[in-house]
């Protein structure tokens, strides 16, 4: 029998929209930084290849931005359409960062418009470069603000509750909650990292297709060095995120690690399966690692699931999401390191086909890490929408027809996704870099 439950459909629709938006948002946050790097190097070294790199990246970037903007508008309005009860309550406390985010959007949108249409308008190239700075700041600022909202959902503070109403609101305290520092920095760094890897993958594809122009080699070098820096940063902050969880959301960490009993010297379990009576099989056990992740010492006591009300524990399958994210993080950091070693050690070949192939896969893998990371963070907060205060089911709409809307939006995202890829391919296929280099007489 088909049981209509608006909560389930609201959750699915919210996840679809966010999962789709985050692809474009990640690109939107990270790629301006990469464009800025390329243009800056191009101006400083007077190297037209880097300038062309910036220009071509920007050409693809506008297309992804467009999809980012429309899906962002969707999720922004859907927050009210699907979670009216939640917005009514939480809106009292988190309106501030949401409001500030719109100013960040304004700055980003205005300067992106100017940047795109003024490539050859200024005599001093630096002026054009400077126009990109507000775009990059605006994008990172919007990520900053929206992530503080999400952090608030994980570690709400800055108010008192009386009869289900939030009173004595302190908007700034609500924004700067304990989850904020690690969450914001992890989200920003992982966006930069992912964008770097995606652009590196594009360069690697060209090189693998025997297009050996030095242009692609420069692109690969720039993106992979950036990728190394950002992936080390991501991993370090990821470690801090673990420590944050151990202190403020221990049930999320325990569920992610299948850590059933509170102990010190806790091992970290990687992979494996869970039997009916919660025994871990075939898992890789790293002794003491969980205690170290939680508090930098093997004597750190890590809370286990036995300490929590079973009703209030997130689903245990988030274990795999966490493992996948960390695995990808470690692998990609190693890959970037190997590439950089190839640059340093003269005997090694940084354009070895095997290495290039790995880099091609690394782009999509980084995006997968973003997706599973978010799903882990969000599902790991269940059953709460506002941790400890409001359950997800209480926040949802009571409307009929959420199911129909789910089908409509799914169709929309499918069509948008497919068209976006097709348009991007067409833009770059019809006008390959080599041709543009020739036409510009470089």
């Amino acid at each position: 029998m088909y049981l209509y439950d608006p909560v389930i459909f609201s959750r699915i629709l919210t996840s679809f929209t966010l999962i789709f938006h985050i692809i474009f948002a990640t690109i939107g946050v990270g790629v301006p930084i990469m464009i800025a790097l390329a243009e800056w190097i191009g101006i400083k070294r007077n190297d037209p290849h880097y300038l062309l790199l910036a220009r071509r990246w920007a050409r693809g970037f506008v297309i992804t931005v467009a999809v980012g903007v429309v899906t962002g508008t969707c999720i922004g309005l859907q927050l009210s359409l699907l979670w009216p009860q939640f917005m009514k309550v939480a809106g009292q406390a988190i309106a501030l960062p949401l409001f500030m985010e719109t100013f960040a959007f304004f700055v980003e949108a205005i300067f992106l418009g100017i940047y795109l249409y003024t490539w050859d308008r200024f005599k001093n190239r630096m002026v054009h470069f400077l126009l990109l700075i507000p775009v990059a700041i605006g994008a990172s600022a919007s990520a900053f603000f929206i992530t503080t909202v999400n952090a608030f959902m994980n570690a709400p503070q800055g108010f008192d509750i009386v009869d289900g109403q939030l009173i004595n609101i302190q908007p700034i305290v609500a924004m700067f909650n304990p989850a904020m520092p690690t969450k914001v920095s992890h989200v920003l760094l992982s966006s930069y990292m992912t964008s770097a890897f995606i652009l590196a993958a594009i360069a690697a594809v060209s090189l693998l297709k025997k297009r050996k122009h030095v242009y692609h080699k420069k692109a690969l070098k720039l993106t992979m060095i950036a990728a190394l820096v950002f992936s080390v940063g991501t991993a370090v902050v990821g470690d801090f995120s673990g420590k944050y969880l151990a202190e403020y959301q221990p049930e999320k960490l325990a569920a992610a690690e299948w850590h059933f009993e509170t102990t010190d010297k806790a091992p970290l379990i990687f992979g494996g399966i869970l039997t009916e009576d919660n025994e871990v099989k075939y898992g890789l056990e790293i002794p003491y690692a969980l205690s170290i992740l939680s508090g930098n010492s093997i004597n750190t006591v890590v809370k286990g699931l036995d300490d929590f009300d079973p009703e209030l524990v997130p689903p245990l399958w988030i274990h795999y999401l966490f493992d996948l994210m960390v695995l990808i993080g470690m692998t990609l950091t190693t890959l970037a390191l190997i590439y950089v070693l190839c640059l340093v050690i003269k005997k090694w070949n940084p354009h070895h086909p095997l290495l290039l192939r790995c880099i091609v896969i690394a782009g999509p893998l980084a995006m997968i890490a973003i997706e599973v990371g978010w799903i882990f963070a969000e599902v790991g907060r269940q059953p709460w929408i506002l941790n400890g205060i409001m359950k997800t089911a209480e926040g949802a709409t009571t409307s009929k027809n959420v199911d129909t809307m789910l089908y409509l939006f799914s169709a929309l995202y499918l069509v948008l996704g497919i068209t976006c890829v097709r348009v991007l391919r067409k833009v770059f296929r019809n006008y390959p870099a080599e041709e543009e280099i020739k036409q510009n007489g470089m």
């Binding site: 467009a66 922004g76 009216p84 309106a95």
Partner: protein
Amino acid sequence: MSYEIIGITVLWIFLYGYMIVASIDFGAGFFSFYSELKGEKHQIHPLIERYLSPVWEVTNVFFVFFFVGIIGFFPDTAYYYGTGLLVPGSIALILLAIRGSYYAFSTYGSKNNKFYLFLYGATGLLIPASLSTVLTISEGGFIVENDGQIQFLYKELFTSPYSWSVVLLAIVSVLYISAMFLTFYAQKANDNPAYMIVRRYALGWSLPTIIASLFVFFAINQHNPEHFENMVDISWVFVLSFLCFIIAVYFTWTKQRGGLAFIFVMLQFAFAFFGYGASHLPYLLYPYLTIYDHFTNDTMAITLIIVFILGLFILIPSLYLLVRLFLFDTEYVKGKKE
């Protein structure tokens, strides 16, 4: 002024801004498509594209600003409108999403795709129609609360003469505002063939705009007499709006001062829009939501207002720069700079 009034005024100003910039964009989409059908596209399309390409994303942010802001200042609107408007809101969103992304696909990607252009033109009329129904709904009678359950009465909405009169006004105004703007832009660009075409559009849509507004006046009297009374009390505002209309059309008719004509169009709509808004108060949703009973807490209100003022210090210079580079730079408008 109370915080409530400041809050709603800020939001209304931005909604007004959205109405103007979005109308230009929506109407331009329709005209692009229409001129393609009539084989005049090559004459006006480059002009439209020159204006739209750098600014379309900014237009969208005006909209985002409005709905984020209204939930910030009046969180209960999320509850009533959010629950009630799931379906129409979602449909408007899907149309907006199609429009925005396909605009980008065709401008930056595959040029001259007729299907994209059709989507762009059609959504240009459907979106204002669907967004304008939110104003209709705010008049009351379409969202009702029964035993704590919010319900949206589709049948009432689709059979209400008032609702259709607003839709008509929205579509006609979009075409009028857009054509008036393009007339100014074409004049600035010294592009005479394009100028003649868009001026024809502008004059053609001017009278229907006034007729449609009269319809709305009559229909609102039927639907919400209380609101109508309030409007009559400040009828001088609407008279001013009409005067501005006359002046704008006069300038366009005599082919003078395109810039000034468009300023009068903006004034015409400013008077009408703020007159409508002021007479609507204190209700956000008749009779459930008022700006006084459903305001956010004072701390948040002050913080939002402070942030808003600080934000303006960034926003106004940036917008000024944008306008200078793409609207008032005659060389760019003429297409001599890319």
